[in-house]
Symmetry: C2
Subunit: 627 residues, 2 copies
């Protein structure tokens, strides 16, 4: 069977109207995107493009600054697509001009290596971020063309990509290098699709194929710098997923963001080149990840030491790294897996990451950010206005600004509804333009309704995802219940018929409060449950429950009442009930007791995880004791 | 009321004969002490005393090496007191000669600062260990005189102490310094008692009084070295308990070993000088420690980062630092508190530390050692043959070799039995020589029997500790039950009468399997219990129970059967029973489930904590889930 990818329904064709998401996207557009630009300005990241930094001046351009600005630009361009804004357009144009002017005669674009260490260009692919920055600039340029129609930035980036294609490769005189921080690979594949230029796809393939070959390029270039490769600070090439050729890899290892960007490109290339070995590697790594290394909030990468993976089932709560960028990268990889495999499972993981880990990355106001996303806090973990390593805010901004393109996919004869987000889309299926209107009642109610307006009656498959959190899903077509079991395949309900203008599909989701248990080998969570309702993971905050939260015991039969609280944190669904805890007063001073006090009843309230740390500092707990 | 200290019944006067302890002490004498000497030799620690190290040679003497050798010498001398051994005596004599010959004309003794950095003598009291090493040498010299009667080493150390007394103090030209690593303070008080020279006690008092005064000496000396005090690697003077004058301190902070040695000296000086402020500080720090910062195995210091204290109730299991030396230092401090306050509680803590954390510090064979003592291990934590920082093995060796002196204390009219260790002691009470024979049936049975042989009938109080692990204790005198409640005071049963030769006191201890709960604020242990029987804390090992151990659930009513297993690990008491765990086979591949499998029954076996890691590597767990 051929590996073919579903087509994304592009951002221009989708309008989101959703009670849950619209306020979040509005805050992304009106608060987050301007706030990030302002911080890029304050920290010198914008001025860096003027290339007038000199030694001794403040704000020395850092090796990863270009990527921060590129991601902001990408976010701003997506925002312009859905919400034209002359003020923002002016800022985008000015910045674009500076970037174009910063291009060197040979096509090279990088602020750090142009003004700070020009002699070190391409000398340390392992640790510095040149190709990573190039990748983000390419993605920004694609978004810029998409938003403005102006091709100047894209042309500049093509010249840069061509320069990179001359520097790297297997021909004599070329460097056989590849990025220490992956990203350019997936960007080059996008560039190929935008320009139709085969050489960009080939260059992506070269970077992926070359990775992890012996003799190891990062060792060779370390020796050329006069360093002993044994002194590599990260200790192992697992950190950059270059410990083995990619087709031999079977587990997610090393830095979690790098890994997921690589796996994105591997999935893309598997479909581009019908490369079954690559696809098998993707599937094996994925399976290992979701079975042993995925946090319940959709986060990946347990450890701060390598910003990445450790061992199987090592998923500590308080010290969880679970970088916002890593969950975003996982979302992007899962989207590619979904589009190739057409399995709802991948959308389940996208949803888990998006509604929980990713969305927690930004405050409800939109102006402070989490870099790390623990599942327990003693009250010391708070969002930053800016992080020394500020990759997450613009990454989050570009994902939210482009959210529309992740809702639907299509191929020639099917329309897939992947994420239940209220929206209107224009698609073309079986050659017929179709308007789809999806209304979603989540989180208040487990209901959604689609209305189809094909330009003329037209047969195609409407594939509706059955979410993993939903045990029973009922589907009615024009008021008539469909028996869905026979239509279920790979997590999608496949409705195939000749659709007519005005056809209505109603969906009822069973949306109970789930008590998730983790695998017995996840040490910290034995005897604990995590609460989930719909796609939302819940947590307990000290503000609602007092402390210590670890001692709350949720009786197995305790009823948890979902309730929409419009006055709490801008309006959200809470879960309330009664739990037990040891009586701190009766416990008194002892540290250890063998005759402990009785358990006392206590009212409890859980809020969605994404909304934590928007009130007074205090403890936060996801995994609550089950009694 | 005067602060008076009970008198220790010295090592010469006590012979241990105990089913549990005698094999451990034998292995200390025949395996541990020789093994440590051999490793000191192999690593150059012995040769360092020849002072012929030159730059470029291997085995550069390190700033703390002298203390390792001093503690070994102290251990060896204690061993000579209880077990004369011509071979060991020869080694001791040779080493003693080298140390004496290493003394400089001005009295100074230190291998590192004599041959490696002579120009840096007394230049960094904060980080280097000169005064700490001096303290251990003084303690070794006292033990040496006690064991051999030879005063040459003690004389040399008096000359060194006099040199130190000339260098440090408040007179013009003297340095107003004090040690970064406490120890010399308590050694000087011992030196005062051995020599009767008031100046040593005064010097100890100076060091304690001067600590933490402003301007801060460690900052002044840092500036003299051309360093910015703000660059202090430890970040805060809490690390060395010099953040405040000692009388203002109320919490245990910083490096745990340093802290407890300081608190030893503070307790000693409180009694020496009737210093109520010092005593209040000791009591406040103690109370804070045992209520909020003491591990259930008697360990202290949660964190590797500072080898010490963190926050209240922060007692993680897997990353517990709980250095063996810190538990030893706590034991020594508790002993002093006990001797001043005459409260059984302090002996309870001594016992908790001794039977668990401290004893786990050495393997059953006696030749490998724990530096850190976690309460959970995934199987990666094993004893070392030698640690780069090898303070613990000789510290443990000297404690075990001198264990006899911690069993009894006395004052003019009372004999205190502090630790239930089978032994025979010669004491003098109310002017009458009394022989005490204590037979102890622990751990098999909760029984002990004392036989008194006063040289003539004599009235005195026999104070028998009621251990905290014993809810009911019965005492019979010559077969007649005593009603103990009226006789109980501060954890001791006070039996006062005219004792006659041959009087027998029988004690029956209730020794149930206790299920300890930790305070609700101890995050990791909510819903978990630790098993204790008598003074022994228990743990589960993978070798007996399979894994993952975190998922074992002990039903509240499950019977746990104590049984002596003579063929297991040299013979020890196990606890066996039936617990529950999730069925790993039924669980299959999922990482999270909301409909988990039923719990299945599983036989379990717990062994005493001190005996863990003496078999195949695997998980170890102290705090087991309570169902």
């Amino acid at each position: 069977m051929r590996l073919t990818k579903l087509k994304t329904v592009p951002l221009q064709k989708v309008t989101i109207r959703d009670a849950f998401w619209s306020p979040r996207l509005e805050s992304n557009r009106t608060v987050t995107i301007p706030a990030i630009y302002q911080r890029c300005e304050e920290t010198g990241r914008i001025d860096a493009w003027k290339l007038n930094w000199k030694p001794g001046m403040p704000n020395e351009p850092h090796v990863f600054w270009d990527s921060d600005v590129a991601k902001w630009l990408e976010a701003a361009c997506y925002s312009l697509i859905t919400h034209p804004d002359p003020e923002l357009r002016k800022t985008v144009d000015t910045l674009t001009d500076w970037i174009i002017r910063a291009q060197q005669p040979d096509g090279y674009i990088n602020t750090h290596f142009t003004v700070v260490r020009p002699h070190m260009r391409w000398k340390n692919l392992r640790d510095w971020h040149e190709l990573y920055c190039a990748g983000h600039l390419i993605e920004a340029a694609i978004a810029h063309r998409q938003a403005t129609g102006d091709t100047r930035l894209l042309d500049a980036l093509c010249r840069y990509a061509d320069h990179i294609g001359r520097v790297f490769g297997r021909a004599p005189g070329q460097k056989r290098g590849y990025p220490g921080h992956e990203e350019i690979e997936l960007a080059l594949i996008r560039l190929y699709h935008v320009t139709g230029q085969e050489r960009y796809r080939e260059l992506a393939k070269y970077f992926v194929d070359e990775r992890g070959r012996q003799p190891h390029y990062f060792d060779l270039e370390a020796r050329e710098r006069g360093e002993d490769p044994a002194d590599y600070w990260a200790g192992s090439h697992e950190y950059t997923q270059s410990h083995l050729p990619v087709r031999q890899q079977r587990e997610p290892v090393g830095h979690a963001v790098r890994g997921a960007y690589l796996y994105c490109a591997m999935a893309d290339l598997a479909a581009e080149y019908q490369d079954r070995d690559l696809w098998q590697a993707c599937q094996a790594i994925w399976k290992h990840l979701v079975r042993r290394r995925l946090y319940v909030h959709g986060g990946v990468g347990s450890s701060a030491a390598n910003e990445g993976y450790t061992q199987d089932y090592d998923l500590p709560n308080e010290t969880a790294y679970a970088e916002t960028c890593a969950a975003i990268a996982l979302f992007l990889w899962a989207h590619r897996m979904l589009q190739i495999a057409r399995r709802g499972h991948y959308a389940d993981v996208m949803e888990r990451a998006l509604y929980n880990n990713i969305l927690a990355g930004v405050s409800l106001r939109g102006d402070t950010f989490f870099y790390e996303n623990p599942l327990f806090s003693r009250g010391q973990h708070h969002r930053w206005t800016w992080h020394r390593c500020s990759c997450c805010p613009p990454n989050l901004a570009r994902l939210l600004a482009s959210l529309g393109q992740y809702i639907y996919s299509a191929d020639r004869e099917a329309l897939y509804l992947q994420l239940y987000i209220g929206s209107e889309a224009q698609v073309r299926i079986a050659g017929v333009p179709v308007q789809v209107r999806t209304a979603v009642a989540l989180p208040q109610e487990g209901r959604a309704e689609l209305q189809l307006q094909p330009q003329k009656p037209c047969e195609f498959t409407l594939a509706l995802r059955r979410p993993e959190w939903c045990r029973n899903m009922e589907v009615s077509i024009n008021g008539r219940r469909a028996a869905i079991e026979p239509l279920l395949r790979e997590g999608f309900v496949h409705l195939r018929q000749a659709w007519r203008p005005g056809d209505r599909i109603e969906i009822e989701f069973d949306m109970p409060v789930l008590r998730l248990q983790a695998h017995p080998a996840v040490r910290e969570n034995c005897s604990r449950v995590a609460l989930q309702r719909g796609p939302w993971l819940y947590c307990f905050e000290e503000a609602d429950n007092g402390g210590p939260l670890h001692d709350l015991r949720l009786p197995a039969r305790a009823h948890l009442q979902p309730r929409f609280e419009s006055n709490l944190l801008g309006g959200l669904m809470t879960l309330t009930g009664t739990a037990l805890r040891r009586d701190l007063d009766a416990w008194r001073d002892a540290l250890y007791r063998h005759v402990p006090p009785e358990l006392i009843e206590t009212p409890i309230k859980a809020i969605p995880y994404y909304a934590w740390d928007n009130r007074a500092p205090g403890e936060m707990l996801v995994w609550v004791l089950s009694k």
